[in-house]
Amino acid sequence: MMLGGVGNGDVGRISVIVSLWRSKSAAISMVFIVVLAVIGLLAPVIAPKDPTEIEIFREVNGETINPPFPPSGQNWFGTDQLGRDIFSRVLYAIRTSLVIGLLVRGGVMIVGVCLGLIAGYLPGVVAKATMRLTDVMLAFPALIIAMAVTAILGPSLSTVIIALVLVGWPDVTRLVYGQTLGIRASDYVVAARALGANNFRIIARHILPNIASPIIVAFSMGIPGAIMYEAGLSFFGFGIQPPMPSLGLIISDGRGYMTVAPWYTIFPGLTLVAIVLAFNFLGEGLIDVLDPRSK
């Protein structure tokens, strides 16, 4: 719990990055995330092959073999049943994962922080109603609800984002509610009110800056979850639709070839794990720097 804002608000943006850099795992994960972002942006340039290029047979030692081809110098992650290069497909899919992770978590934060601030600042009926709503929302089987939303709205990139924001906000609302409640009664908020500041000013100038650290941590810690949920939705056919690339989709396609071409399922999954791990380590690093007391 935060006991007021002393110290936290003073940490400038640059010094946060410097402190993060001192932690080995956070530094490595920052570099890795930057590399991922570059890969996502430049996938068409970096990818060794055209991800849609089909190769239906290959001559090996005078023998003709059919895809899926195993990993080799030519295809690092092997190929799928049509001979398409899985490594190149994965590079393209990383872009989808990152975009979804950032947009979903961004949307979740906007909704969650607003509701949490309102509930925390206006106790009574509003707070009770909001918190009961989060209780119920948190009880939902999130993945199936998200699937139902995309099924009803028609699965696509935008409906996946809507669905995941819809199931994601209650956690953040709870967090922000608790933090706001703790700060609402603090001396400087009482003083600001006594000086005649209106509610909007109090929230924007006094409460929000003082709960910025846990909000930033929650933003970063929630990105891997959003990425995994998108992969899950796409895996079950309720998320990203082909031809748009998605790691969940590749794994889903690979499932039918698991015994003959395990690389088809394993490499896209490992990529997913690497992305999730990088964001998790970054989040832990952020906790150490911004909000050490919460540990």
Partner: protein, 311 residues
Amino acid sequence: MLKFIGSRLLVLPLLLLLLSALIFALLYVLPGDPARIMAGEYASAETVDRIRVQMGFDRHPVIQYLTYVRDVLQGEWGRSYQSNRLVLEDIKQVFPKTIKITLVAEIMSIILGVSFGVLAAVRRNSWIDRSLMTVSVLSLSMPLFWLALLLQLLFAMRLGWLPPSGSGDLFSRYIILPALTLAIPSSGYLARITRAAMLDTQQADYVLTARSKGLREFSVITKHMLPNAWLPIISVIGVDLARLLAGVAIIEVIYAWPGLGKYAFDALAHRDFPALQASLNVLAAAVLFVNLGSDVLYGLADPRVRAEENA
């Protein structure tokens, strides 16, 4: 204590009502014509109209919802649009399967998580501690569906030790793989919590006293540290059960385990709204009951919570 439980019990019906209203809104009020979705893309206008009247979609949503609540309370859960069977009968058949797999997974998770957590705490900063914590982070960073595929590939297809999917009796080999998959991420989480809770007790006076009395390390751990570390562990088990219930659908679908999660998934895939609505309600209600149970359990375990609630 009674007052504490009573206040929780009083809120429960309200939460259940809110829950069913939200699910109703999700399925029938969201943009999109439920009759059209149920009929399928290529159905004729007459078919769509027939479904609309048959399901009562032509009435005002509030009337529809109130009728639904009345029917559910009277035990009329409707018929599956897909199989025309009574939804309540279906749920009576599939729900126990889900409870079974969730409980087996929770037991596995507690056994693995607590013992790994204690081991890591006792040997803290050793290679054992570090590798256990690495595995725990890894287990939390894997999508459940992918972990399920990997374990299926390894234990069923490559090694052939366990059946890849399907179901059998409680004490059959079918339950091992799905329950283990479900248990792995939560045991990773429990191991971290247990380790932290054990390390917290390390500095306590009673542990120092026990050590200075010359008690063997084993007795210090089992008689003095673990009983005091239980509280945070218990509080997490409730959260954990709720999380298992959220993940169980993925496991049931991949391992073809005929439980409530798979039932909900199939209902969704067939746009079978009555079955989907009922299974979502039951799944979420189960989580609410688990939350209530863990609150009560926590209250029983920690007298301080009771005092706070009564104040």
